[in-house]
Amino acid sequence: MRWVDLKASIKDFWFEFRRQKGGLFGLALLFLLIFTALGAPYLTEPDIPTKWSQYWEGNPTTVPPVWYNYFTTKKLAPHEILTSNDLRITSPGEDIGGGMKYYGFEFTYENNYDFPPSDIIIRNIGVKLTDLNSPAQIVITLVRPDGIKIELLNTELREGSVYQLAKDGKVRNAVFQWASQFENPQKIAQAGETLKSTMDTTKVIFGKAQEGILTNPEALKGTYIFQVDIFTFREGDQIDLSTTETILSGRTYGFMGTDYKARDLWSGLVWGTRVSLTVGVTVAVLTVLIGIFYGVTSAYLGGWKDEFMQRVNEFWASIPTLPILILLGAAFKGHVSLWTIVFLMVAFYWTGIAKVARSMALQIKEQTYVEAAIALGAGTGRIIFKHIMPQIMPYAFAAMALNVPGAVLTEASLSFLGLGDPTAVTWGQILYDAQTQSATINGYWWWVIPPGLAITLVAFTFVLLGISLDRVLNPRLKRL
Amino acid sequence: MAGNVLEVKDLKMYYFTSRGAVKAVDNLTFELKKGEVLGLAGESGCGKSSLGFTLMGMPTPPGKIVGGSIKIDGREIVGLPDDVLRKEVRWQKISMIFQGAMNALNPVYTIGYQMIEPLIYHKGMNKEEALDRAMKYLELVGLAPEIVYRYPHELSGGMKQRVVIATALLLDPEIVIADEPTTALDVVVQAQIINLMKKLKKELGLSMIFITHDLSILAEVSDRVAIMYAGKIVEIGDSEKIYYEPAHPYTQKLLGAIPRLHEDVERLEFIPGQPPNLITPPSGCRFHPRCPYAMQQCKEQVPELKEIEKDHYAACWLL
């Protein structure tokens, strides 16, 4: 094919394709998907794949996205991280005699939410102790908007200490003690222990000081000040506040919320695009190439070779794909890589294409000019590549696009069965986790809806492209 | 005019495609006399096959009759509701012989089933009567009556063509349109079918429009011949006249392209260029880009059909 012809035929193709509204829409979606896949490290963080399979320390588990607040009347606190820049140092290490030093800082939290943060975590305080048997002391005090001051915690501070206020037993005790004064004493006497163990610590901390604070706390909105006082007892003990981090564990998180491992689902969604596209497109392209090669060769060879190749094809085609893929996946369980999955899918999907390619090649072979070329002594390769292939290519392009959705759905299905690549970030796997954690029954919609929509979107993109390509490139169907 | 079974006037049928309207039949006017065979010839893609279905009031989608009139036995059929057309016109008044060797027969029904359909729907016959009549007509076209129990794939191309002919004649229609009835057949069978049609014409006095691209066949069967080019009739007249004294340059070229056995021809002529695009046909005379005698006038003005001698019309500025 000469360059001019190629240019002309591309122009011609574009002229027809432009009229396919679905195709143009599909093309737009494709660009969006490619953009997302390529931009994954910039849209989220570059190290997502390596840390995906771990628990994401510091994030809240299974919380909905931040924008969920627009749809609810009761507002949920988002996830916030305060660094040393957000802290106000009240004492940078004042010497208070006897080798003791006093460090102090405070931070404020504006609670405008009906559901306050689920936890308050203070960590990464740089501590250097001279004597490990003599730890530093930390006192955390809360000043509420109504002026009430509560000492939440008074405990040791060592290197690497993390204070999760909502999970801490001492905090629970202190808060319970404080809150029970507002409740009916009879109730406390009767069911005190149960109330203590079932109360939601942060809801009480951020609750209105009134009856019912333990059983049914109502949020008290306003400015809360957390004062943290640290005392060291030995000369040479050092406290460095510059690395200190305070996490207000949100009841909502990010664009897409989190799952049970506290992973940011938005990152999973974005990175999942890569896997889905790569697997889908690779499988489709390989399937079509192999299928066409097999079919054309079979048709070209003819005779008993053709017959034999067709038998092999039929045998292969009569193996039902999904059960066998599941079996193979189970056999490789735990150490399946994405490429194994690609390989398995290609191994089972090429047969249909081969059949069509063969019958097309047979028809083309019958055409007079091909017979003439054979009579003139053109070589096998020349016949196949010069005469047969160019006529099959339009079919091939459409077939490639039309094969992507199947591959995408199969990959997702395998991942959903827990048979995917455990190291890859895939949508099927996110849904697998959702299923094993009973996300549907618990109403974790943000965990279930987006990955499935994403799978549907990728499949739909290629359905649109495939059908439009088919209409343009295989004009027999043009009238449809 | 008395004795005309079919009068077509200014008929326009366009295909509405995504690239624009294809003017497959454009301002066509002609008539068919009773008992006459009118041959309709032209290159492929000139609109002659589109005309066949259009005359039956059912242009192939996405085609639509845009204007003009078709009168069968004096009755206007353009604009008739489809229901009336189906019940009163199609097959009753005007029937069609398809290219039988192609796909005109449904592969999953027996020959009998497909032949008796018109009898049942139009004449209200029961199955036995209908089969009886179908068998008679099969005999008429030279086939064994038992063929009614066979499936199309069990017959040869020639046999299928005879079945299609028999089916077309079942209701004694006023007009029969034969759409390339011999095209897909081999030469010997072609000759048999032509002879059959000549015989039927003589015996039944058929009025027929015979559509083909093969001029040598037309000379055999038709009384008059119309030559179509790019959706228009460029010449029409007695077949002898057209054959021996073609007036239009296109007809001359077309005839020059036929190989003849008994004449020494140095080389076969061919018509340079390609049939025009019918979405944006050439201005003026549609043949002018390929015509060796084209003049300035040909590019600007559309030539009308004019009588150049008695019953011989042609549309050309040369005449």
Binding site: E314, F315, S318, I319, P320, P323, I324, I326, L327, A330, A331, L409, F416, L417, G418, L419, L431, A434, Q435, A439, T440, I441, N442, G443, V448, I449, P451, G452, T456, L457, A459, F460, V463, L464, R479, L480 | F53, M56, M58, T60, R86, K87, R90, W91, S95, M96, F98, Q99, N103, A104, L105, N106, P107, V108, Q114, E117, P118, Y121, Y151, H153
Partner: protein, 353 residues
């Protein structure tokens, strides 16, 4: 080729495929099972030692004796589980067992049974109730819509069918099931989120109503995801047929349009459509593998999930074998039906087209 001979050849071919697939799967699973059994043998020995204080006391004194006892137990169990036989012998044995429907037992009871054969025969009717029912709806709706759309090609209905088909064929069915549970079970509380009956099951007529009630969500899921594709395929086949010359011929003959569509066009389109129907009906017995798991429906599909989760290799083999066998039966019946419906090809039709 005669009909009888043709059927025989097809059957033999199917049996060969079945045997080869089983062999292939057996190779895989003999390998997987071996690791499985070895670790289970260790556990059994440890358990035996721990549950027998007498023995413990005896052996604790002498490490050599312990070692010897341990080895003896190990060898005994290796022999019991036939791990002392060569790999290929075990593969062939397993293939033979599977082919003779001798699937063996599971490690722990499933559906109250341990014999794989019994488990499967309990699961099949449940899947038939759910999936085959749904499939029948799909086929009926799909056919009617598809024919209608083809009849008025280009209309709003036709475009609607195309769009619905494109969208629904992109949806993973199991995910749609999850969505249905989320909406209709969690949010609205209208339907149960899974299972086939309430717990404990009801008695008498109420039992059947209960099962029907539990079927609503999964059946709607399956029907919703599949009907569009069916309608669209039917439409395309019909439109292909309606462009044939014989349809124009029938119209020209004055055959009423309704007869043209439902007589000529539908009858001529029947072979591929009937083939599709046979495949989906028989295929449905194998269950919608993942969708059943999502709805916790105790059928064939659910068995796959359970077998995978609990590492029940024998069950997995059994289920796969049944699915493959059903698929092959469907192929043969479809082939024969095609030959019956299309007079042009008496035999071997679906292969050449």
């Amino acid at each position: 080729m005669g009909y009888g001979r043709y059927i025989t050849i097809r059957l033999l071919n199917a049996l060969l495929v079945l045997a080869l697939v089983t062999l292939l799967v057996s190779v895989l699973f003999t390998k997987v099972a071996e690791e499985d059994i070895r670790s289970s043998i260790q556990e059994q020995i440890n358990l035996k030692l721990r549950s027998n204080p007498e023995l413990q006391r005896q052996l604790a004194a002498d490490p050599a004796k312990l070692q010897e006892w341990y080895q003896r137990e190990y060898n005994r169990l290796i022999h019991v589980y036939e791990l002392d036989k060569p790999f290929w012998v075990r593969v062939i044995q397993r293939t033979k067992d599977t082919l003779t429907l001798n699937f063996g037992n599971t490690k722990s009871p499933i559906f109250g049974e341990t014999a794989v054969g019994k488990i499967i025969s309990k699961a099949i009717p449940r899947t038939v109730i759910l999936f085959t029912t749904a499939q029948i709806f799909v086929i009926l709706i799909g056919l009617l819509l598809g024919v209608k759309a083809a009849q008025i090609a280009g209309s709003i209905l036709d475009k609607g069918v195309s769009i619905v088909a494109m969208v629904t064929s992109s949806i993973p069915m199991w995910w749609f099931g999850m969505m249905m549970i989320l909406i209709f079970s969690f949010k609205m509380g209208l339907f149960p989120s899974g299972g086939m009956t309430s717990m404990p099951p009801k008695e008498g007529f109420a039992y059947y109503l209960d099962v029907l009630y539990h079927m609503i969500l999964p059946v709607s899921t399956i029907v919703f995801v599949l009907f569009g594709g069916w309608a669209w395929t039917t439409r395309n086949i019909m439109i292909g047929t309606m462009q044939e010359d014989f349809i124009m011929a029938a119209r020209a003959k004055g055959v009423p349009e309704r007869k043209v569509i439902y007589g000529h066009a539908l009858r001529a389109s029947a072979p591929p459509i009937v083939t599709m129907t046979i495949f989906s009906l028989l295929g449905s017995i194998g269950g919608a593998i993942i969708t059943e798991s999502v709805f916790n429906w105790p059928g064939m599909g659910r068995l796959y999930w359970t077998a995978l989760q609990q590492n029940e290799t024998r069950l997995l083999m059994g289920v796969t074998f049944v699915t493959v066998a059903l698929y092959l039966i469907a192929m043969i019946i479809a082939d024969l039906a095609y030959g019956y419906l299309d007079p042009r090809v008496k035999v071997g039709a679906s292969q050449s087209t």
